[in-house]
Symmetry: C2
């Protein structure tokens, strides 16, 4: 069986053992005579999967009891709208603009006529760093994008604020331990670190979602889903099942701390290859804000022709998904939880071989 090394930004690589387990169970789920896809969401069979996924998330990520864990749909893009719908109280809301996704989040709050303050911004240097953000303590909420998939930057430490902190963790959820005392709402699409596309994870302090305007549609209220354990209507059952397998896999890997250590090692290999290339490769992000999830780099003088050649060179070695986003150009290696160190090593070798041939 062929298996490529998949550096796509999302949907992205999943652990082979998880896919193989899903394959074994696909037609006959654990001897029950049906696929988990065919099970009623009101059946004990499915509810065990659903509640098991939540329990594993709580244990692995040490989510406090006063936080709800929700499975929604629509991706982070839907959260850009749901967050202000549920959390805006008529005051000011503050956003740090650290890239394309932050911008979209800001735009959705503006569409809802919220009073939005952009308190930090790094667009003037093409979002190559995480700007210092001083959020007020009195805003309705403060919003950050913890990892910027396109630009390859990542918060190493969350800003301090007494206001509720909302974190779009779409591209780094479950990749390192977080301090819940600092976070009031975290959201993420599952398709990078936690499963396939089609499941959106929201982890939110329950007290924050109790009061919601009666004008908000039922499906767009966090409270609807929190009160119903994410079973208000039919959830994306197969996606949640895949997420439960991913949580089991994270457990087997030794939990979030072990995975975080592994992620550090993978990223170090790539950043070292860039930094030790005598200027042949240049990283897009400033060193102190480099992402452990998305490594963005160019070739000297942003030589687009040579960059395209490197992408093709890697494809010949069965490495795919390396073309950088058009906003940065160059290459981007997305190395989420499921990317192996062996995969990263192969990429480093290819980068070295290519550099020697073209220096």
């Amino acid at each position: 069986m062929k298996r490529v090394i998949n550096f796509n930004a999302g949907p992205s690589t999943l652990p082979l053992s998880v896919l193989e387990k899903a394959q074994r169970e696909l037609v006959d789920f654990r001897g029950h005579g049906l696929s988990i896809m065919e099970a009623s969401h009101r059946s004990k069979l499915y509810e065990d999967v659903h509640n098991g996924a939540i329990e594993k998330m709580r244990n692995l990520y040490t989510i406090p009891d006063d936080y709800a864990v929700l499975f929604l749909q629509g991706g982070a893009s839907m959260q850009f709208a749901m967050v202000p719908m549920n959390l805006y109280r008529g005051g000011v809301i503050e956003y740090a603009n650290t890239g394309a996704w932050s911008k979209k989040a800001i735009k959705e709050a503006q569409i809802q006529k919220c009073q939005v303050q952009i308190v930090a911004e790094s667009s003037e240097s093409n979002f190559d760093h995480i700007p210092d953000a001083h959020f007020s303590d009195t805003c309705d909420y403060a919003h950050i994008t913890s990892n910027n998939t396109i630009y390859g930057t990542q918060y190493k430490c969350f800003p301090e604020t007494k206001a509720p902190l909302v974190v779009d963790a779409s591209s780094d959820i479950f990749s390192y331990p977080v301090e819940w005392s600092k976070i009031d709402l975290m959201y993420a699409g599952a398709q990078k670190n936690a499963g396939p596309s089609g499941v959106t994870i929201v982890i939110v302090k329950k007290s924050l979602i109790e009061n919601v305007s009666e004008d908000v549609p039922t499906m767009l209220r966090y409270k609807t889903h929190a009160d119903a354990n994410s079973l208000y209507n039919t959830p994306p059952t197969f996606g949640i099942y895949m997420l439960s397998l991913m949580m089991e896999w994270l457990e087997e890997r030794g939990g979030i701390e072990a995975v975080a250590q592994y992620n550090e090692e993978k990223a170090a290999l790539l950043y070292d290859a860039i930094d030790n290339s005598d200027g042949f490769y240049t990283g897009h992000a400033r060193r102190q804000d480099r992402s452990l999830m998305n490594v963005t780099f160019n070739i000297r003088n942003k030589d687009a022709e040579l960059e395209a050649k490197l992408v093709a060179f890697c494809e010949e070695r069965d490495m795919i998904g390396l073309k950088g986003h058009r906003s940065v150009g160059g290459l981007r290696a997305s190395i989420y939880n499921a990317m192996t160190i062996e995969g990263v090593q192969k990429l480093v070798t290819a980068m070295e071989d290519f550099r020697k041939a073209h220096s």
Copy 2:
């Protein structure tokens, strides 16, 4: 391998051949060295699946070119909110109330402060029939629920109106040929007739969604998704892949007309068993409005104890999901496209055996 006969109302049974194909392809999709779940939604690999699903839907269901085919998320429950957000023009909107799902659709329009008229209603007889609905020609839109999953009733003919007709076809999409000249927007969750949960199908006349208020969040505008071929953000890729396999299967079965004929035969077997039971079984729905998808029935005198015994009796014969919804009690056999005639025959035999033992 064990295989139960699954009469669940949704998520529900899928064709064994479809599940087996998905299983074969799950780890290594058609020799590409990755799962379709791992493919970028911007890759040709995935786009071929995505566009193939749309094309097959268009061919099978004879969807005219001036209609957009959209893959959304959130199920019919999200459509209850999206329809008025996109189609309400400040006038009156008219709904036929034929059951629990119609009621929810009405409630969401009311939450949005639309002027809602309920022009037909069958609650006084526990929604056992489809009431005549006279929609005005001047309302912003008219809304019906084509099949009522809980009560087992179904429109045999859509109401005539010059206003745009919106059809919630969650439980009978793709089960019979429709006249698009009568329909302006159809929506459905995929998890009954068309695939797993997590994909919502919207088929809508393009001219109807051109003008949308700037206050509507980007993700909740049909136009956003129509303009981007449902790739505005990451779609539920695996669910859409499963839907594409379901469309192939429908083709292999001879298309929608052949499947509709088969569905008639399946339903006739069950309704005959009810009607020829000397009053032991009584159907909930009035004869002229009986659903071909969900067959709802009670045992004489609505004997709940005996009904529970029949459910257990069927489970012993590997038939599951037959317990009726609490609003009707009794039993409900959901016999969507993927239910086989052999499965229905086994249920009929069990009903006969049970009746003989308890008459």
